[in-house]
């Protein structure tokens, strides 16, 4: 049966595609040279060790070849990418000091409102520099540090030096090396022992200059028996030049600590999103990933959890929605190193209008991980014949005493289900959107309310062409 082609192919995203004139005071030369790295470092007033780190990373970047697996990234030309753009303003401590033009963009994205409604701190990154940042007083009184990464390098140098790119070393892959060389901006969070941060910390990242990459670094340390929920939101305006995002997220979850890291990425449709996220979880610790990938042209995103201590746990929930012109390769990695560690991976991917979505995961259970448990459940939904869905789960089990479960499903929306709903008066696009929302429902349940709403809106924009 021929389905009605009434969906909106290219959605209106004026809300996200606000483009300001480029008034940046400083721009690096195109392409990546040692001179550029020294320039960036000078601009940031890096300590000497950081400059060394950047230069060593650059060496590695030159040496390491591009990955030979995953989506095609050959259209990426680093010579075209201005790696660092500094917006026309200094770090601002309050909203009034933020430049008008930048403020207007944030207003349209609703960031101050978001803060007003119960978020405990907003770190908003405009281009590569954090321009607006505030932490509620009680948090800092409790010893919780939440700051932009440049400030952290200077004010908390010892902590940064101890943890920075130890979990994701530059030698890991080409884009980790690139990140080590050109990182700029990002968030630093330190939660002291026993401290529970009740309200989620939220940061928004945006990219504005055409051809500019974004290389923000996020470092979160949750000391023993502490807890935190960190929310990262991303949206970028659309440009013709290929944009690159090669951020890096390092999460340290100490003994008995809990960290939830939530992201909904909605990059514009020309973005190459090659992000590296990793968590190290100690005894009785818990890392919870909630990951929504909607935007970008190409994404490679596999947050990894290294379960290092006994009883360390990982919960991963992900939703990926690939539409026309998108190749989204997402999933998770888990390395189980200690006895009785456990991991639960639960994902939903959707592809439509010729989009390609791949679920890719790697689970490694080492001989030391006696009594480990791992459950993987990945389901895919294809909305039409043109689209593509692949499932590539890899499991490497090196011990007998384990409990492993794996369930993968690829399905289509049945015409009979659409007929059933339309026979109740529901229009076809809405019926389809309801079914898709129903498909991701088990995952959406894990999201904080405002993000569940945002995700529903994104699904509606994709399928019905309107905000719900």
């Amino acid at each position: 049966m021929e389905q009605q082609k009434t969906f909106v192919e290219d959605i209106e995203r004026t809300l996200y595609d606000i483009r300001n004139e480029d008034h940046s005071v400083y721009k690096t030369e195109r392409g990546l040279t040692e001179e550029i790295i020294r320039d960036i470092s000078r601009q940031k007033k890096d300590p000497a060790w950081m400059l060394d780190f950047r230069l060593q990373s650059l060496e590695k970047y030159y040496r390491i070849p591009l990955p030979v697996w995953g989506p095609d990234i050959s259209e990426l030309n680093m010579d075209d990418i201005v790696t660092y753009v500094r917006p026309g303003g200094k770090m601002a401590g309050n909203w009034q000091e933020v430049p008008e033009e930048i403020k207007a963009t944030f207003d349209r994205l609703g960031i101050p409102e978001a803060e007003r409604t119960s978020l405990s701190g907003v770190g908003a990154q405009y281009d590569s520099e954090v321009v607006y940042h505030r932490v509620q007083k009680e948090l800092s009184d409790q010893g919780v540090i939440y700051t932009d990464f440049e400030t952290a390098v200077h004010e908390y140098e010892d902590i940064v030096k101890e943890y920075f790119m130890k979990l994701v070393p530059p030698k890991d892959h080409k884009f980790a090396a690139l990140h080590g060389a050109v990182w700029s901006g990002g968030s630093f969070v330190y939660v002291p022992e026993g401290m529970h941060v009740d309200i989620p910390l939220q940061s928004y990242f945006r990219l504005n200059a055409a051809g500019a990459g974004q290389f923000e670094h996020t470092l979160i340390i949750c000391e023993k028996n502490s807890s935190l929920h960190f929310i990262e939101g991303c949206s970028a305006p659309r440009y013709n030049v290929t944009n690159l995002h090669a951020g890096c997220v390092e999460l340290y979850v100490k003994e008995g600590a809990r960290l939830r890291y939530s992201t909904i990425e909605n990059w514009s449709r020309n973005m190459m999103n090659l992000n590296t996220k990793r968590a190290l979880v100690e005894k009785d610790g818990l890392i919870e990933w909630v990951s929504g990938s909607f935007g970008s042209h190409v994404s490679c995103l596999y947050p990894s959890s290294i379960l290092h201590g006994e009883n360390a746990r990982c919960e991963f929930t992900g939703v990926t929605f690939a539409s026309r012109g998108q190749d989204l390769d997402t999933g998770a990695t888990v390395v189980m190193l200690a006895p009785n560690t456990s991991a639960n991976i639960n994902t939903r991917t959707i592809s439509k209008s010729g989009g390609a979505a791949t679920y890719r995961s790697a689970v490694k259970v080492t001989p030391g991980a006696k009594g480990a448990k791992c459950l993987v459940n990945c389901e895919s939904l294809l909305l039409d014949e043109k689209s593509r869905s692949d499932t590539l789960p890899v499991m490497d089990i090196e011990t007998d005493d384990v409990e492993i479960g794996h369930e993968a499903k690829i399905g289509r929306i049945s015409d009979e289900a659409i007929f059933y709903l339309t026979s109740r008066g529901i229009a076809e696009e809405e019926a389809q959107a309801m079914i898709v929302r129903g498909f991701v429902e088990p995952v959406a349940k894990a999201l904080p309310l405002e993000y569940a709403v945002e995700m529903n809106n994104l699904i509606n924009m994709e399928l019905v062409g309107s905000m719900g």
Binding site: D415, A417, L421, A427, F439
Partner: protein
């Protein structure tokens, strides 16, 4: 005075180039109950699906008129909004959409008005009690894990909540035990009034116990071969379709 609700004129329809309905004429007035009888494969369910606008069937000739408006080219959701409802023989299981969510979305789509959550919930709860459906089912996913009888009762729940003008009941009583048929039958008679109508396919006359049947149509190989009053139901229950087949062949 009787008002015409549905008028089917010389309807030919089929699927994949195969004609299944070969010239159906049928008129239903407001306030009436019509019954369609016929052996398996005679085209009963196809007729229901074609009235509802199932995109898998094509109308090749003839027309469907609802309250004086030609609906032959309308899509399924437009027909539903005009006031037609189909109770499915095998209702779909749809994960992730709760009974309440679907019903509220449907009600809003049909009336074009926003439903207040609390008022709607109260009404839903009352209807569920009436049909002896466990109230927790309003939060369950549509038909997922429901028994056959629960699915059928859920169809009647939707009928009562959406209040269409024309209810098409496709073997709503099949596969049900005596008690369940009683409940479904009560639900249908609660729905039925002078302003609406029912078109019922049944193999089991018990669903009709509480209804006053106006007209019975016997469908055979895509044609209506015999029509009559309620007495035809008893006759066919007693004698089967044999003598009708003989007289038409």
């Amino acid at each position: 005075m009787a008002e015409t609700l549905l008028e089917i004129h010389d309807l030919h329809a089929g699927a994949a180039d195969r004609e299944i309905l070969k010239g159906i004429d049928l008129t239903i007035q407001k306030g009436e109950v019509h019954v369609i009888l016929g052996p398996n494969g005679s085209g009963k369910s196809t007729l229901m699906n074609v009235i509802m606008g199932h995109p898998g069937y094509q109308v090749t000739e003839g027309s469907l008129t609802f309250e004086g408006k030609d609906i032959t080219a309308l899509k399924t959701f437009e027909r539903a909004r005009a006031g037609i409802f189909l109770s499915f023989q095998t209702p779909e299981e749809i994960p992730g959409i709760t009974v309440e969510n679907m019903l509220r979305t449907a009600r809003q789509a049909i009336t074009g008005k926003r439903e207040r959550i609390f008022g709607f919930r109260k009404e839903l709860k009352e209807m569920m009690e009436e049909l002896q459906i466990d109230p927790s089912y309003s939060e369950r996913y549509l038909n997922v894990g429901f028994s056959g009888g629960e699915k059928k009762r859920n169809e009647i729940l939707q009928l009562l909540m959406l209040r269409p003008k024309l209810a098409l009941l496709d073997e709503t009583d099949s596969g049900l035990d005596v008690d369940a048929v009683q409940i479904v039958s009560r639900g249908v008679s609660k729905f039925h009034n002078a302003d609406n109508a029912c078109l019922i396919i049944t193999h089991n006359a018990r669903i009709l116990d509480k209804l006053k049947v106006d007209r019975v149509h016997v469908l055979l190989q895509g044609r209506i071969v015999e029509e009559g009053g309620p007495e035809l139901v008893d006759q066919i229950n007693r004698d089967g379709f044999g003598h009708i087949k003989e007289t038409t062949e």
